[in-house]
Subunit: 586 residues, 2 copies
């Protein structure tokens, strides 16, 4: 038996007991006649003590040979601590060491195993197994475990069935790139790893499984941004014989359950809902952060036709009101202007209007606009004395995107994005299609199985871009937690959709033939939703980065630097797989 | 709202209620003035009725247009059934149809959606989404869901943490073949899909996560046998600061919990344990079926030295006692002989000894053995009047394997393998190494991280083949449910192991460098176990075939015939991945 208790378990009620603990040495303090060891395991830290006269002297000799991260087993008696530590759960007691067994030595770690470490990102990723010992990382993985468990508990309580779908499937040219897997047994042929179990979960509805879920790895071979991983986890769900309302209620219930059980947070009432169109108009984003207002104001009426060519030639002039920022200095405003002009944001410039305390206005476009004009803008934006209007203009889509970034940036600057506040919102009625300039055709905004809204069906023939879909996202704090749609279950409508998306019959059949076949044998009305599990965990923790919620993440080149993967294969392995490596000179 | 109740829910207490049901038409019986529909969903079947005079005539017209597997929605009143059906949970009631809405039509399915279907294996796999509607398949997936849920409940209750390990990892040349994934971002380099999360779970122990589990897909590119799948699911577990006894107790607890919660079966006392050596001696198998005896008997003493060259030149002469089979006819014995001579078994022949009711013996080797000799055999085997001794001989290993097959075959023949009886046994003390004739070196029987038994350490230098490992399997009814070992956590012992296995320092470093590095930073004593999840579910259901416990299985060529994967890729996709397809003419 290696231990009678964990290092997070002993309390004053255990005083007098003989115990055995095992763990890692966090710190040693050796004062010559008295020595302490902080012993750490997954559950906490317990202080061990050896005082001359009360223990065998050999223990002091032994301790001198130990260092940080050594693994030891200690037998001893729980005693009351002289100076208690109320910060520690085990802070009332310590263990008087009677016997120490060295279980394993440790080299000096390349960075300190502390909450605040001296190790940089790269070093910590290379020694991820040591990084995982640190509390901030451990706590994130514990939260992930709890979210996963509570997700299953909730879904099980409302009769969902977990069904595992295959990982070795078929590549589809639509959407993001697939990772593929050569088949040795079928030379020249390849499996693909699933980007999501979309078609399989729809097949399960055809099969009558009516409430399906899975917490499942998905794969996308994309050029990685900081918050993307080539493999990521989804809570994937589908329901049959339901309408949109049933789905929203079910998964609103899930999110409420998770926040209650994992974070102790209770949401009052129903989550608010907002049309996609409204979200874009007010926030320039389909995942608005509603922890603060600062809604967009259309300034076209007040800003155009006054001779300022930049605004006159713009499709839209948008303003936001930065409350209490009239005192911003020239330097601060220049910095903001530089910020919006960075290529990542892409604005051409930034116009400001200071609403001075004396009732006057000071703007960067005073040459073109009278005090009355500026007052009109301020009124439109609800700006009061002491406020600062920030104005961007240009094409509708681009300006909304830029203003969304600026709004979030100002929210950060003004401390309006409290990491412990959570503001969910359902974004409803997404467009069915989006126009792709490059290929000059419509693409499905969600996927080709998303159903159009009944009342918009006639628009399919006349104005396809205006057709709204039975599609919805759950956004929270500026993050998309999940999204889904009611699917098409009628094969004629599905055929019309494929036609609209420019699929020939052959293409549709080659890619989705089995699903279209399945739909001929009694497909029930169905719909579903998928949550990004890594991102859900990060959002619930009030952080942006998903990487630390993944035990063994990959870097931005898709590499696992710890195991050094990917790596070349030997020739024989390639030959068996009937493939050759064809690397171009670069 | 598509339904107020499911098709498995209504009871006589609902009589008089107006309800809405949705589902698939299982059958229609139309007698002209009265018509019944059996409506099916995931939860059961409810009988619907329309009687002339009590409903609008148009309903009869509507029903005439319906066929099997049409999806309909029905509104009506729950009424008492005239002739109740006690076999059905909803058999006390029926629903008088008032309004029917056709939700979707169905083509005539290619096979009947019944418990006993007329569809062959291949057809059912091609239309797996229809096969999944059948109760026998649905019940298996329901059981799988429940086993998964109860596994998590149990492991969570004893503080295990689920940690997801990566799917895109590094290929290792040891063991079975890897499936590989070309990396587009790292041309010429490949990921591998994990055969198991073995190294990652050991790293998690180094990281201090002390109780890890995961229900996880694993991948092996093997030539498939009937009961193998290229992707399969494992319950993968690892613990630190434990010895073998802790691990066995923990997972014996899990198996007992699963049988209790899922099957309502209680095991009395501890699972029996048997040394590997004893299992091989008595049953010729490391996964003996203990539902019946028929243990092997060594007949060397009685069978050798009597001039029968076949036995004299054999390393071993083994017998089993087939109780009550003395009456086997010539034809039956010939059939048995043919059976053991099939290439899958590979025996050269079969010797029998009938223990006649009159106390005499009749054998196929009467020429060489006296009645006294044969009596000696019978006594050794505990055979009585009316029994039949079956005898095989040859090399030790081969003969044991053949006799194991024959024993199981006779168990089947004699009805001794009751699918509702479950006999677990821990097989202990596996050999650490096995000699590979082809490469003329030792291979790790389990894997290179399995620890040798302390008391056998000295044998490593003198007689490596004799070294026993701290390795254990849980067998049940002739099936290996799972297995594991206590790992090596000492880097010197690990280095000695690699040397013994013929790894050069470079090879060991290239393959397992990160794990060996990790072991230098305070690796705790640890060990673990993995269950084959698909097989566990099959065994718990009393069946052999794992295929129906997998929603979308692959066939013996590794193909998913429903989605037609694997498939060729287009040239552009290959080019982006820096690979070429090199298919040899066959």
């Amino acid at each position: 038996m290696y231990r009678s208790h964990t290092c997070g378990e002993l309390r004053s009620s255990n005083i007098g007991e003989k115990v055995t603990l095992s763990g890692w040495i966090q710190t040693i303090r050796d004062k010559g006649n008295i020595a302490w060891i902080d012993l750490r395991d997954r559950y906490g830290i317990t202080q061990l003590v050896a005082e001359q006269g009360t223990v065998d002297d050999s223990i002091f000799e032994q301790i001198k040979t130990f260092g940080r991260e050594f693994v030891i087993q200690v037998e001893g008696e729980v005693i009351e601590r002289y100076s208690k530590n109320p910060e520690m759960e085990t802070g009332d007691i310590e263990v008087r060491m009677e016997k120490i067994t060295l279980l394993n030595a440790s080299k000096v770690p390349p960075f300190t195993i502390e909450d605040e470490t001296d190790g940089g990102e790269e070093l910590r990723m290379q020694y991820r197994y040591l990084d995982l010992r640190r509390n901030p990382v451990k706590d994130k993985l514990k939260l992930r475990h709890k979210v996963s468990l509570e997700t299953r508990k909730y879904l099980d309580s409302v009769d969902f069935m977990e069904v595992e779908t295959p990982y070795l499937i078929k590549s589809t040219p639509e959407g993001a790139r697939d990772f593929v897997v050569p088949s040795r047994m079928n030379p020249g042929e390849f499996y693909a790893l699933p980007q999501s179990p979309q078609t399989f979960k729809q097949l399960l509805m055809v099969s009558g499984y009516d409430k399906y879920y899975q917490i499942v790895k998905c794969f996308r071979d994309e050029d990685l941004r900081a918050d993307r991983q080539p493999e990521f986890t989804q809570i994937d769900c589908e329901m049959a014989f339901v309408d949109q309302e049933d789905i929203l209620n079910t998964f609103e219930g899930l999110v409420k359950h998770l926040f209650r059980e994992v974070r102790g947070i209770e949401f009052e009432g129903n989550f608010p809902r907002m049309d996609y169109a409204e979200a874009m108009e007010k926030y320039g984003s389909d995942k608005p952060d509603l922890r603060f207002g600062m809604e967009f104001v259309n300034l076209n009426s007040g800003a155009q036709g006054k001779g300022f060519n930049v605004f006159d030639s713009a499709e839209i002039v948008l303003g936001i009101n930065a409350k209490g920022c009239a005192e911003y200095t020239r330097k601060q405003l220049d910095k903001l202007t530089d910020w919006v002009k960075r290529p990542q944001i892409g604005a051409k410039g930034l116009v400001y209007v200071k609403c001075n305390e004396d009732g006057t206005f000071k703007s960067s476009v005073d040459k073109f606009y009278s005090q009355e004009d500026l007052k009109e803008w301020a009124d439109l934006a609800g700006a009061e004395k002491g406020d600062l209007l920030l104005v961007l203009s240009g094409d509708l889509d681009a300006t909304r995107k830029q203003m969304n970034e600026l709004r979030l940036h100002m929210g950060d600057e003004l401390g309006l994005r409290n990491p412990n506040e959570f503001k969910p919102v359902w974004i409803m009625d997404f467009p069915l299609l989006e126009w792709d300039e490059e290929t000059e055709r419509y693409h499905a905004m969600h996927h080709p199985f998303t159903s159009p809204k009944k009342e918009d069906l006639d628009l399919i023939a006349t104005d396809p871009g205006k057709v709204r879909a039975n599609a919805y996202d759950l956004a929270m704090n500026g993050v998309e937690l999940g999204g889904g749609s009611i699917r098409i279950h009628d094969k004629d409508l599905q055929a019309r959709m494929f036609e609209l998306l420019g699929f020939s019959d052959e293409e549709a059949k080659a890619q989705f033939g089995f699903l279209m076949d399945a739909f001929q044998y009694g497909a029930p009305p169905h719909g579903g939703l998928a949550f990004g599990f890594d991102r859900l965990c990060a959002t619930m923790s009030g952080t942006d980065s998903i990487r630390d919620f993944i035990a063994f993440p990959k870097n931005n080149s898709g590499r696992d630097v710890m195991i050094d993967a990917p790596a070349p294969l030997d020739g024989q392995q390639l030959e068996e797989l009937s493939i050759a490596s064809v690397v171009k000179e670069s």
